[in-house]
Symmetry: D2
Subunit: 355 residues, 4 copies
């Protein structure tokens, strides 16, 4: 078997960590999941059943996992608060890194990861934004590149979750960075992709409500929020995030150009079935991001693996991941303070009074 497979270790075996682990184990032919780390005994128990029989070594200590013989890459799916630290340690251990978004909800921490990565240019360090690996978004990008819509000028993008009646997201709000950092960061990343990652905000506004979870206010967060980012080059993106959908996950994006428009997921659907009954015609909707973006996560694992093994460029820059969080944090600030933010032509904050 002359085929070299990327030796991957997984950090974190929570909801998204399990998902990544299974993708590397089963759906990434050029990678081999050889190690997994979690500090959580329940997750270790899950790993005993689901990973260990496949030859995956389990660790309850991250530093130990980094020393796993032959390890080449780490996928990080732990709690956001430790993403950056773990990413930096992996980089310092000379390992490629695929880190779940966001690197951190704090810009300076994000920047520390970028700085660490910069010192090891031979490593592939990627913060995964799943939509970049989705077939539909990729086709949209390709059609924009072909000039099919003229100059992209307006983006409308929303990340809308099915209501979780357990209210889990209230506690989550304590450390998520808020809806714009946690949810809209995907829409912002798409904006960087479709408008160009050199765009600079000109002004930012945001408004939110707590329609189903007033308790969110204690964390200065909202269950529905709308924000607008106007850019210096005559483009606008506007975003809607919600945790209140009755029907399922509904992440929709429209890119409106001077000569046409491209839309992704204007008709959410779980599959190709329509049910005709006395009340009309009904189709179902994916219940969560895995239902919508499952194949994109698989694609991400494969693309990351290929970049590591073949030393080819990653499909997205690490600095974009920082920029997306930065704009998300501005939106969150505008949302919480009830103030419009303004920026000069090189992106420095200015007070409106100065204008």
């Amino acid at each position: 078997m002359g085929i070299q497979k990327l030796q991957v270790g997984m950090a974190g075996l929570g909801r998204v960590g399990k998902f990544h682990a299974m993708n590397f184990l089963q759906h990434t032919p050029r990678a081999e999941l050889v190690a997994a780390f979690t500090p959580d005994p329940t997750e270790i128990a899950w790993g005993r059943v689901n990973l260990e029989p496949h030859g995956v070594t389990l660790y309850d200590n991250y530093d130990e996992m980094l020393k796993h013989p032959g390890l080449q890459a780490v996928a990080i799916g732990t709690a956001t608060s430790v993403h950056a630290e773990e990413a930096i340690k992996a980089i310092e251990a000379d390992l490629h890194v695929l880190c779940e978004k966001p690197l951190s909800i704090h810009i300076d921490v994000c920047k520390a990861v970028v700085a660490a990565a910069k010192k090891k240019p031979h490593l592939k360090v990627m913060c995964g934004f799943s939509r970049r690996f989705d077939e539909s978004y990729r086709e949209v990008h390709s059609k924009i590149e072909q000039g099919l819509i003229g100059r992209p000028s307006i983006i409308r993008s929303q990340t809308c979750d099915k209501l979780d009646p357990s209210g889990f997201f209230v506690e989550y709000a304590a450390w998520s960075g808020g809806v714009f950092v946690d949810m809209a960061v995907h829409d912002i990343d798409l904006t960087l992709w479709f408008f160009g990652d050199d765009i600079i905000p000109k002004s930012i506004s945001a408004h939110g409500i707590t329609a189903v979870q007033p308790e969110l206010k204690k964390h200065k967060d909202y269950d529905n929020a709308v924000g607008i980012v106007e850019f210096q080059n005559g483009k606008i993106a506007y975003y809607y995030c919600s945790r209140m959908m009755a029907h399922g996950q509904e992440d929709t994006t429209e890119i409106i150009g001077t000569e046409g428009k491209l839309a992704v997921n204007n008709n959410p659907q779980r599959n190709l079935v329509n049910y005709y009954h006395s009340g009309g015609i009904t189709r179902e909707v994916p219940p969560n991001f895995m239902g919508r973006f499952g194949p994109a996560f698989v694609q991400e694992a494969n693309d990351f693996t290929a970049a590591c093994l073949d030393n080819t460029p990653l499909p997205m820059k690490l600095t974009n991941a920082v920029k997306a969080v930065e704009i998300g944090a501005y939106l969150q600030e505008a949302l919480v303070t009830g103030k419009q933010l303004h920026f000069d032509e090189i992106g420095r904050r200015i007070e409106k009074a100065q204008l």
Copy 2:
């Protein structure tokens, strides 16, 4: 008021008659409904309330109505069994005729109407097939004429009614001519329109079931039937009729050409609303043909009126109405006898053994 309005009399004030009467009264600016006939006292009572105050004279005798001063045209919406007799009388009284489909379920009776009309070429005599006046079907016809799909080769067309749980259609089957004559006649008429009205059947097959109304068997009819008509010129039409739809009226047509396809109503919908709820996304469907084809009936009344007033050609030939019933009757025969029918190149019946 120098504008001449077509003086119209309505025969029949049942479900479809009322509909025509109101269209001529309210939605046909160039026509004036001046008279209405019905033998039914309940319908006369309806007319007293809804028509008489607008200056419409009511008659319980058809022949009397024909003598209404200044009458120029008659719209016939009575029971099918008297369509032909009434049409012929009107023609003989030198009146234009708009007759609900079919002229008759008997071909020779249909042909008698055509013969009567032929003697008065200055009269406009039309058997109304509502889909010819529907905006979507008209656009399809126009796109076919533009060559957008190459040579039209296959037509799939269905007429599917919402289930009427009263089972009214069982008694109706006694004199409707059967599902292919009563329902598929619309699809056959579309076939004549899109394939050309000179097409000649080559062979015909049909099969049916009684899924919800076994009592239909006493009238040799079916609540669901599928039929295929193969034409001499290398074209095929296949039809589905049903009286069993849970969701509403679903009349769908596809015309498949050598270079493309046109479809009408592949996504039935009552309006532009979608309702998103915990079970998915639902849209409603028109409950009946008036919900789907209401505007087409209005267009029909207006087009007929214009043809009468301006002496312009009608949008469809009267002979087509005969041909559609003829093919419908063949399908019904194939359905009831369980035999495939065959025709020679000029359309004469042949026995398969002769082939």
Copy 3:
């Protein structure tokens, strides 16, 4: 003919005026168009051909038309700048009024109309917002009333016109009041309908660009604009207006409640045709508001007529028309000044510094 018909005079025979005139002439059975006014000789010439033969008296003087014998109601479709003056004159002449939106782009002028109407409570004075008469929006309203989506909390609504390459809208911007007053006023009116007309803004933000017509800047207007209105009662509406659509008119609205969502026109379409070809499957889109809302205008004429004849309530309050323009003007101010606007609990403007 004992039926009384509402005697209507039409003011203005430009694009929308012609449309109203033909609706009252042909599609409003209980109304009779008896008079029409326009100062424009070209429009008079059109009236000679299209109205006069139907018994409509033409006037080139508005005041003269108001004296037309037996006149009961006036429909106003002239330039916006004279709407209010004409409406007030008609009210003073004791005539019912159906006025095209907006009453005026100036709030105080709008209010003068309201004051005039208040003095004549027996008159029906309506400022027509066509979407209130659209079948789909009416069904949405009904479903909200039935509680199908819980508490309506977020509205997304857009008014997007097909690009007019003549650039006509640049000159039009000089007196239109700007995109939010001219276009979004429809979306704002829907907001009042679906959220309740007693809602009070809390804060307003807006951003715009000139993607295709930089000349708009001279009139301080934009060809694409996005705005957010946060209301005091924990609800948000966000709007998008554009004059840049390649594909046609696309007016879409979503009302998101705590338990469901209703969407109107998420899949714009001109009719029920789909064209399948080597590039995929294509459907067409209405080219303008008449293609989308034609039947709503007919409904409006009929509903107005019924209210006048039967002395029943109008389907919408005149004060809403003022409130919609007022919110539109706030959005426009936020757009042009680049400032977020704030309001106290009874709707008075406050400076953020005061908060």
Copy 4:
């Protein structure tokens, strides 16, 4: 690595063989592709590059491959004419078999495979019908089982390929068994799934044309064909096969029950993108069966593997694969002879004259 993986050998490396091989190699975690056979030097060369480096041993002799050490299962994707022989040899070598459809175009040959399999009940022998593994069809089956549409009564199902302008399918027709055996066999298999595999035909009709490839006539085949199968238990299936689609693969199925309807793929689409342009709104369609059913083939490989390893029942009976071909062959006979076929209550052919 205590996990046992199913040791699989692939027979055939043509278009569908390559596809299966890659699925077993990369997307079937519990299987290991260890061997591949093809008599074709070009395909061997492809295997050298794409399979050998992954440890797959290549064979140009099928019998030799069957002796590959540790081999447990064979997937057969060679030419249809050798399917049965290879399947029987594999069974005799005590190997599980996944065979591409059809087992053979000759019923007696199909039956020989069934007989061979019957002697080795411990082996899993499956003839793959990809739609049985498709998420949408599975959901339809589940909803039918839940009783959502009452009693399934009518099935409409079509298999429509994008036109291959090379005309390859003309030569292919020489040994494909004809359109109903080659294409509609999928629709027939769905019928067995949704109506029950004990259904017995009552009568069969079929009609076809050669709209784009008149040369097909030399092989007694057609490029478009429609057929109806009426079953003894009051159910009907009707099928349409075409090789003439301009837009792509369009395989649509509707199951109509007494209380509702389920439809799969009424709106074909390649992904979730809609492109809005001056000609309307366009979406693209998968170009071939792999674009539509790719994930179903992966599911099939995984389900087969699980059944072999865990000795659980296969998701479909081998006898169904014979029955589907048998009904397909009847349809083809009806098509070619222009005769309607009739069957008695236990499925024996009868002449209509006997009825």
